[in-house]
């Protein structure tokens, strides 16, 4: 999307701004002097003409740059696109028709095509692509090791490694989780999560723990790990701070990491209500309530925070039978609209009969209306 050349453009803009500042500053100076009769009209006239000349010059430079840039990039992009498509076809023929490939090094469009295929294909085909990527020598590694590479070059390299998914490149990525630039840290977390395998996952877990990334970014990394996330989530729950634990609880539920379900219990009594809500949400997503936690869930029905009551109500159907029904019936009188809605949906899970009864006979008119609404939607 973004084409090269913005540095030159930025330089041009800087030049234009400098010219403008110079011209305007001179004009203001000259006119101020005129006010106190320190300068004659001819000098003011000259300053105005100079300002006009500089503006004209800036306009010519800018227009010429824009037009030349447009024409040049259109040509270059067309050439790159053709080369990319040619290489894509060549790799596809090598994969499916066993056509021999020219020996590396391959040009940049070839590597882009290779990464694109690696991103799309799986199984044995992906293994062959991985082999070719190794043969290609991964030129991006240089940008990550080098001291002078720009931030965009490093970001591009991290993304390329993320697409290549070569486990041996994790070592290049992990140091970036300590980088002072949060954008590079986030890119490294994403890349690391895509690359890490086996022991690398634990190394990534330790690096993520020390990265100081916000919880949304940590959650993204955990979700990218998918079935490999278990040891990372376990480490976060054990040693993480508030952000890491929140991300771990969210990921635990979303990835359905059942072996860690028992670990959630301790968070139901955490002093931080957001962590308690995340724990309740994780249990709801797992669809499983470990024995002995019923009391903790019911206690949250009386929490002052609406979001805690909401999460607790969503868990009630898991209690089953009369206990669940009683809890949900009571929650239909909750002052919060959202808790009443969750209660009505919970009753629906227990059976339409329970919901119909609430719609007909619940003492709270708002509870009745909510049950009626959910009943109508269900039927």
């Amino acid at each position: 999307m973004w084409r090269r050349g913005e540095r030159l453009y930025a330089l041009l803009v800087f030049g234009v701004v400098a010219l403008e500042a110079l011209a305007l500053g001179q004009l203001v100076g000259v006119f101020s002097a005129r006010l106190f009769s320190l300068l004659g009209v001819s000098l003011a006239y000259r300053a105005l003409l100079q300002a006009l000349f500089l503006t004209g010059l800036a306009l010519v430079l800018l227009s010429a740059y824009i037009l030349l840039y447009h024409a040049y990039t259109a040509l270059r992009e067309e050439r790159d696109r053709r080369a990319y498509e040619e290489w894509l076809g060549r790799f596809a023929r090598a994969l499916f028709e066993e056509e021999p490939l020219p020996p590396p090094p391959w040009p940049r469009p070839a590597l882009e095509a290779l990464l694109r295929l690696r991103e799309t294909l799986q199984g044995d085909l992906a293994k062959r692509l991985t082999l070719w990527l190794r043969q290609a020598g991964l030129p991006w590694a240089r940008a990550l090791r080098g001291r002078w590479a720009s931030r965009p070059a490093r970001l591009e390299a991290l993304e390329a490694l993320a697409q290549a998914r070569l486990p041996e490149t994790l070592g290049l990525v992990l140091p970036y989780l300590e980088h002072p630039d949060p954008v590079l840290r986030l890119a490294a977390a994403r890349a690391g999560a895509r690359i890490a395998q086996g022991e690398g996952v634990e190394a990534l877990a330790r690096a993520l723990l020390a990265s100081g990334l916000p919880r949304g970014a940590l959650l993204e990394a955990l979700l990218l790990l998918e079935e490999r996330a278990l040891p990372v989530v376990a480490l976060f729950l054990e040693k993480g701070g508030r952000e890491e634990r929140w991300a771990a609880l969210e990921a635990l539920g979303r990835l359905k990491l059942h072996p860690l379900a028992e670990r959630i219990a301790s968070f139901l009594e955490d002093p931080d209500p957001e962590l308690r809500a995340a724990a309740l949400r994780a249990l709801w997503r797992l669809g499983f309530l470990p024995p002995g936690l019923e009391g903790a869930v019911l206690a949250h029905l009386k929490a002052p925070e609406e979001f805690l009551r909401l999460q607790a109500v969503r868990l009630l159907p898991l209690l089953g039978g009369a206990l669940a029904r009683r809890g949900l019936w009571g929650a239909l009188s909750d002052p919060s609209f959202y808790v009443r809605r969750a209660a009505a949906e919970g009753l629906k899970e227990l059976g339409l009969e329970a919901l119909a009864e609430a719609a007909r006979a619940h003492p709270d008119p708002y509870g009745r209306a909510m049950a009626g609404q959910v009943l109508r939607e269900a039927t």
Binding site: R3, E6, L24, L35, A44, T55, L59, L62, A187, R190
Partner: protein, 472 residues
Amino acid sequence: MKLLFLTYQLFVLVYFALLNLLYALFALFGVRMVARYARELSELALKDLLEREAYLPVSILVPTYNEEKTIAASVRSFLALHYPEFEVVVVADGPKDRTLEVLKEAFRLVPVEAVFRRALPTKPIRGVYRSLTHPNLLVVDKENGGKADALNAGLNLARYPLFCAVDADSLLDAQALLRASRLFLEDDRVLAVGGTIRPLNGARVREGVVEALGLPRGFLEKMQIIEYARAFFLGRAGWSAMDALLIISGAFGVFRRAEALRVGGYRTDTVGEDMELVVRLHRRAREEGREYRILYTPDPICYTEVPSDWATLRRQRDRWHRGLWEVLWIHRAMLFNPRYGRLGLVAMPYFFLFEALAPVVEVLGYLMLPVFHLLGLLNLEFALLFLLLAVGYGVLLSQLAVGMETLLLKRYPRLRDRLWLLFLSVVEGLGYRQALALVRFGATFRVWRKRGVWGEMRRKGLEAEAPDQKKP
């Protein structure tokens, strides 16, 4: 008298110099911000976000009034967005035309009895409809109360943690929501995100999707392409880079719903309700001493139909300018107030001195020319040269914005179009901009008389084809 004239001249010059230097500064900040954004945006990350369900669901709120020509195509485009979990809440704000009937026919709407939380007061709701063909479409029919009231009604019915306010005459880029919502996921402090708006006129649209952009035929429509590029790529990008973005266009903005509800939703007594909500979010967060961010992001693109006739354009600009004054008045306590940091000391004063008052200074300047001439104080040649300089600076700013668009997106891919855009940026300064300054000048004196009054827009319809891009 001569001293007075020279003092006036100096005042105008200092004002002009400050204004242009500020614009130039925005250009610098804007280039930096846009370049950084473009380099950091990872298509791979967006794909991962989509596949792993690491997103926040969004309610798209579409307030609509008399938009029978555009509403079906707009809603279709919203329903076709690339986003895993979203709902579209169309609020028909007591339309006088067939807007509601068109919606009923196009989406097979059936009435439902909706129970919803009336968190914000609105005009009475007459009915709520669900679609038999699109389960994530909800249509609300209510008594007319204005755009802000309609948005509040939509907010009451919305279910998801984020909401996206869009105009009914707008189309969204397929990935717009995904790109904007990514920012909320990655940073809890983000309260709102605004995107870039581009004129839809001249685009080739099929099934609610913009297939290609071309330059429209109309002069006014072409001019607005330049204006929008300048407003977004210089103004908003610059302010966002300075963490002082005060405007998120009503045509496309994504907000945290809970935050909007917490500050009381949209105000219904102003026509600048979009800017007002953003200023109020800033104000509340600053008063509470919270860390927060309100961002502009260049790529989430929204296409909107811009006025093609002078009467509609004049009404629109009149309304925008009155809206600006209303917001400045409502939040006058923030002006020059150090409690609000750079908002109180830079952004609000800028909008007061260089946006709200600019047409007054400009038009008075034109009016004073013959007066000074009659008084024998005017050096005509000098005055004309100065006017030429002013036009030159205006052209320069427009060209900077065109340059930014070329680098970032190149949505107008033909060299001929680019040449046209550069030429139009010159033409813009030769009458068009002055005419709009006159409209805004008039609006300044109508603020109190027409408080909260909207003007009607004339629509052509979204499925119009680009004039010189006929389908094969």
